[in-house]
């Protein structure tokens, strides 16, 4: 590897290799997950950062501003923290329309209000035309981790249950449809949303959530593989239980993509104690952000680090991490 490829940013195997070989030895990253947990005199803080470079900037269901707030809120939320404050850094290309910037900033303001957090600091840089793709946004976030909350993949145990909070692949499918001028009836909408309200309800229901992650880049498959690898256990999911909208299936069939690897921006995966799962699921289903939540699988003792998908016909296959960008098939 002598040059950075687009796939180094796709959330899959190459990105993990880059983090492990380039960043981890140089930084104090601790556990490689979306948030750092900081022990302070005031209590435990969750701290995270994320950059947003989506194209197109505006899409059905939101825009880059909505994503920039919700994405960071969700990274904090799935660590169990209550999100409090965000920063917003903008890298803007010369010539970018001020009206577009205003629209994006308004979206950020609205998303922050919905999530109940404050954007309290920021930065703006402008680069020459051709040196950026319109606008890039970075948001960092701080949240407070309540006492007794300790969500970590090492806590996953045999017989735990895997729950997903909603439909798979909507955001990635919506973006790909937008990029390629494909329209669907009803339209494909991004699922971007803040998940902190749902997580709050979940944590009120049970403290036995062992793993929680929002499956963004790399999709559900990569997140499950991370959980299996970190726990040293096996995760088995049932294809028939996966909530996937028809439009998402249609786009995936059309382009030869696997919905399990498509990015999501408004769902989470939780691995929980089996006896808590029915009550938790019921609670999630009653919440608007979890109305399509479903139990999709279970944790098995072996084979270690493996994710198995059982197909509708009863066949079995191994789920691996995304290795490269998913690209459309030739035929």
């Amino acid at each position: 590897m002598d040059r950075i490829l687009l796939a180094h940013g796709s959330g899959g195997r190459l990105m993990h290799t880059l983090i492990e070989e380039c960043f981890a030895p140089a930084f104090d990253l601790g556990q490689l997950c979306d948030c750092a947990i900081l022990n302070t005199a005031a209590g435990r803080l969750a701290f995270t950062t994320d950059s947003f470079v989506v194209s197109p900037l505006f899409f059905d269901g939101g825009d880059i501003g909505t994503l920039a707030v919700n994405g960071t809120v969700n990274d904090l939320s799935v660590s169990g923290a209550k999100p409090l404050y965000l920063s917003a850094g903008f890298i803007i290309e010369e010539g970018f329309l001020v009206s577009h910037l205003a629209k994006i900033v308004q979206s950020m303001s609205k998303a922050a209000a919905v999530a109940g957090i404050k954007i309290v600091t920021g930065d703006t840089k402008v680069v020459e035309k051709g040196k950026a793709d319109g606008i890039f946004i970075n948001t960092s976030g701080i949240g407070l981790l309540p006492e007794g909350i300790d969500i970590s993949p090492v806590k996953i145990k045999t017989s735990d249950v895997v729950i997903i909070s909603g439909g798979i692949g909507n955001h990635g499918a919506c973006i790909m449809a937008g990029r390629n001028g494909l329209s669907f009836t009803p339209p494909l909408k991004s699922d971007t949303r803040a998940l902190n309200a749902l997580v709050k309800e979940m944590l009120l229901c049970t403290k036995n959530i062992h793993f929680m992650r929002d499956p963004t880049r790399g999709g559900v498959a990569t997140t499950l593989k991370e959980a299996a690898t970190a726990s040293g256990l096996c995760i088995k999911i049932k294809e028939q239980c996966l909530p996937i909208e028809n439009q998402v299936r249609g786009l995936c069939d059309l382009l030869g993509l696997d919905p399990l690897y498509i990015a999501n921006e408004g769902i989470l995966i939780a691995i929980v104690n089996a006896c808590d799962a029915p009550g938790l699921l019921e609670k999630m289903n009653r919440h608007p952000d979890g109305s399509n939540a479903a139990i999709i699988g279970e944790v098995l003792p072996a084979p270690s680090g493996v994710v198995i998908l059982e197909t509708a016909q009863g066949g079995k296959r191994i789920i691996e991490m995304l290795t490269n960008d998913q690209l459309p098939r030739i035929c």
Binding site: D258, I308, Q313, G315, K316, I318, N324, I330
Partner: protein, 355 residues
């Protein structure tokens, strides 16, 4: 148990059977559907040479990379072609990271929009694929001519499926009991081009769709033929494939392309198995209009067993490079380069799981 799975288990094969899925999309569907884990142990599915990305020659990949790095050229292709390694493991994807100008499209006609939006550039479509994609390339050349788009060129690396099957069957080492034949290709060419499998080699074939149930039904139809000692070409994928195929699409191919000998990566030269642009369309033939600097040696790795995998003689894990020196993120051989390649599908979906 699924209905077709039960029917398959109820037929006791007279011996251990090897069935070949010719098409790369079938390979992926078989792995995605966990189909191998549903079949009796007496049935082995073997992946054939039907991934057009995998069999594109190193020379053609290198030519495409060279074109993409030529100032003033925009190279346009299908997504799958981006990761295919040419000589020295360079790919269009890696070339892009070095400043090469490449665009991925879903439909060849999108290349014409790129050509009209970039009038001062030369837009070259790197055209790969089998009979499924060649009619759309022909239609794009026609549209470019009708609209007077003079900065659109085609580098044809198209290949034909039946000659490859013929070459496969003429090899004494190959031992296949029946063929799961490609659905999309057959939608264009119909069933007649495969009849030689039944008449000359007494091998049954079933033109099959791509869902798990389609494939299971296709396998069941093959088993029925084998158990009845029949050898016919049948169509399971009747909702898409007509026996005569699509005569309009076939005539479009013949209008713009001549058949020629061509080199298949991992297999070698196969007579009359490629498509080149006819002389009267040489004004948009990138091979004739551009001076392409490439090394003509064949840099395929000696350790790579893709040739044997593509002919059904070896399964991917039998190759010493599989999963070690050869992975989807940095492939060596033809079968690891595309998501449809049998090694890539094997690597990604891991075959049948015990769970």
């Amino acid at each position: 148990m699924n209905g077709f799975v039960k029917l398959i288990h109820d037929i006791t094969p007279p011996k251990h059977l090897k069935l070949m899925e010719v098409c790369g999309t079938h390979t992926v569907s078989i792995f995605r559907g966990g189909i191998k884990s549903l079949l009796p142990k007496e049935i082995t599915l073997i992946s054939g040479p039907g991934c057009p990305v995998c069999v594109t020659s190193v020379k053609d990949i290198d030519a495409a990379i060279s074109l993409s790095m030529t100032p003033g050229v925009i190279l346009v292709t299908f997504g799958d072609m981006m990761h295919v390694p040419g000589g020295d493991r360079m790919s269009l994807y890696k070339a892009k990271a070095q400043g090469a100008c490449t665009e991925v499209v879903y439909c060849p006609l999108d290349a014409l929009k790129i050509a009209t939006d970039n009038g001062s550039s030369k837009v070259v479509f790197f055209a790969t694929g089998f009979e499924t994609t060649s009619p759309s390339i022909a239609a794009t050349i026609e549209e470019a001519g009708d609209r007077g788009i003079g900065n659109f060129y085609v580098y044809s690396s198209h290949k034909l499926v039946p000659p490859a099957l013929s070459a496969l069957m003429s090899s004494p080492a190959v031992d296949i009991d029946g063929f799961i034949l490609p659905g999309h290709v057959s939608a264009i060419i119909g069933k007649e081009p495969y009849e030689f499998l039944a008449s000359d080699y007494a091998k049954p074939g079933v033109i099959t769709g791509f869902s798990t149930d389609d494939i299971l039904m296709g396998i069941y139809m093959l088993l029925l033929q084998i158990s009845d000692k029949k050898a016919e070409i049948q169509i399971q994928y009747t909702k898409v494939v007509r026996p005569e195929g699509n005569p309009k699409a076939i005539s479009k191919i013949h209008k713009y392309f001549d058949v020629s000998d061509t080199y298949w990566r991992g297999i070698g030269q196969i007579p009359q198995s490629g498509l080149i642009l006819k002389d009267e369309y040489s004004q948009c033939d990138a091979k004739k209009r551009f001076s392409i600097e490439i090394d003509h040696c064949n840099p395929e790795s000696n350790a790579c067993m893709c040739g044997d995998v593509l002919r059904g003689l070896k399964s991917p894990p039998e190759c010493a490079l599989f999963g070690k020196g050869c992975k989807p993120e940095n492939p060596v051989g033809a079968c690891m380069v595309s998501s449809e390649g049998s090694c890539a599908a094997y690597y990604r979906y891991g075959g049948a799981a015990d769970g």
